[in-house]
Symmetry: C2
Subunit: 360 residues, 2 copies
């Protein structure tokens, strides 16, 4: 990403608008449509992407002027941030963009959803990611492994961070990954499982990098995983609960999310593999007694996910969805603890990885 | 805490039960009652604490036998963990304790709430904290500052961790704080504010330690703050949104929480000070335009919190609660960003700290 200059790109956008004004034209921008109707699954690249539909947004149009002005305002805020070499959170940008228009009692933005949407629009207009615009979302998650990075002038060795690990920032664009000695990356949705594996020194024994969020995977974590794949060709394995929500976490990392289809190219990792918990693990590891019964909304979600373009012709996954419904149950990663506190580190993960029991 | 041997304490508990059995008596334990009726505010120590009421729990009592057995089971699990020198999450302990009693279709525990309660009972029975029992809860939060710790054999310098910081583990009992060069600790409820202050190198300029969770303060973070106060006499300042939930976060750090009154002594920091956002900041920093209107449940919560023993005679706080209701509004920390992205680092915090504008 070092070949783009985000600040210059924003200046070009500004110059185009100034040219419109000087030329006596209504200033306008083209905004690709980000609704489901314009999102499609690219069979070749195996990612969600935006279609070609776009809509014009003009200043001299009563229906457009507010959104037009909001988009230009967040561009201004982003330009300020890039000039100052500082980053802001989505909430900060909302407050920075929120002001009363002179001589009126109208605010440029009243709710954060408005500035968030304007930022997403700016991403597609400028072809810059929110991270490149110096705008961050959630900070979450921890990482440990035989890796040395450089960040804000510090050399940070992820193998010497004790029980805590490195706290993953919301934006990993500027970190330099200097040295990697690892065979794969293991990402898990649960911080408690990460603590288990770190205490057991799993990453040392099996020469890997351990990454955890807590629930939903942040964009920072997705970019970090992607960088390990793209810059170091490391396989990425995903460890989630054996339920439809765990599988959706995997799906987002692999294919992208519908709401962020415009950013999919930057954030997907088509080669990522699902390691567990699978429905087959239930028999193999005798987990039936730890079943948690499905509810109505679990069934709805299974139906929804199983019908997604990227799952609907995938036999291995359709088999999993069917087994979920037959079992009428879900199983958590931590049910493995019933077989011994370190069963996951000593038996489950080594076996699965050795036997290459992945779902793709 | 190095003078107690948790494993021995559990063995004494086990021995007492064995003695009961050998002596032909019904095995039993005394469990201090942990309901609101037995929680009081100690005016002298300024912490919540358990009263003297306790109830006997006996094996040969149909109403007691399940809870008795659950308590002994989690003691067994904890003893295993201490023997193996490993830690487990609350969820792990649930799965480790969950088993079907031989010859029946009854599980010892069916829901995690049961094993959680049994662990809390074990804490009061044994006078050991859950952390000392090697049982952990959430891992959350980041820290940065001029501090060197030792953890799992690693020397970790919190001043050399770039934009991420050290990821705070769920259990900080075993870390050794080796070197501290800081005048105070600033704890904030929002990770995004922490990223702002870290990017601005606030901790370098003002010689402090920055700690953030994301929302609710975990027990790990509370213990970490407490250790800085107890071992290094550092003042602890709290930075939260200007609303009743932010004030309750402060209240829990300072006085303890009702549900954990039995652990209060271990987790409170009576000297902690509230730095902001206060209702007085609203006029001073012109934040009225960023008001978020209160809802019905905000009013209910203000009433509840203002009537707590530790707030009800505190004039400064009662004034704040009254102003909240008069303004009919709350204000977020990040509304300060409307005055410039680094206004919080360059103006707000330095002014407040210099002028000692704290609420106690």
């Amino acid at each position: 990403m070092s070949d783009v200059n985000p600040k210059k790109k924003l200046e070009q956008l500004g110059k185009k608008i100034v040219d419109d004004i000087i030329g006596g034209k209504s200033p306008k921008v083209d905004v690709p449509i980000r609704a489901l109707s314009n999102v499609k699954f690219n069979e070749k690249t195996k990612t969600l992407e935006l279609g070609n539909k776009s809509s014009e947004r003009a200043f001299f149009n009563v229906g457009h002027v507010k959104k037009f002005s909001q988009t230009i305002e967040v561009a201004k805020v982003s330009h300020q941030l890039l000039t100052l070499d500082k980053h802001a959170s989505l909430r900060d940008v909302f407050y920075m963009a929120k002001r009363t228009l002179p001589g009126t009692d109208t605010n440029l933005v009243d709710e954060q959803t408005e500035s968030d949407k304007a930022i997403e629009d700016l991403e597609v207009i400028s072809d810059l990611s929110r991270e490149q615009l110096n705008i961050n979302a959630d900070k979450k998650g921890s990482v440990v492994g035989n890796v040395v990075i450089e960040d804000m002038g510090d050399a940070i060795d992820w193998s010497k961070l004790g029980s805590g690990g490195w706290s993953i920032p919301s934006n990993v664009e500027d970190i330099k990954i200097k040295k990697v000695n690892a065979d794969f990356v293991l990402y898990m949705e649960k911080a408690a499982v990460w603590e288990r594996l770190n205490e057991d020194k799993f990453w040392k024994k099996y020469n890997c990098i351990l990454v955890a969020s807590a629930g939903q995977t942040t964009r920072g974590i997705r970019r970090l995983l992607q960088r390990f794949y793209e810059e170091f060709k490391l396989p990425i394995y995903v460890l989630c609960d054996g339920d439809i929500y765990g599988i959706y976490i995997y799906s987002v990392i692999k294919y992208g999310s519908i709401s962020l289809a415009h950013a999919a190219e930057r954030l997907t990792i088509p080669s990522v593999r699902y390691l567990g918990i699978t429905m087959d693990d239930i028999e193999k590891y005798d987990l039936k007694k730890h079943f948690i019964k499905l509810r109505e909304n679990d069934y709805d979600r299974i139906k929804q996910v199983s019908e997604y373009d990227w799952f609907k012709d995938n036999k291995a996954w359709q088999r999993q969805f069917k087994m979920m419904k037959t079992y009428n149950a879900k199983v958590e990663i931590q049910s493995l603890s019933s077989k011994g506190i370190s069963f996951i580190s000593d038996v489950y993960l080594p076996e699965k990885i050795k036997n290459k029991e992945f779902l793709d």
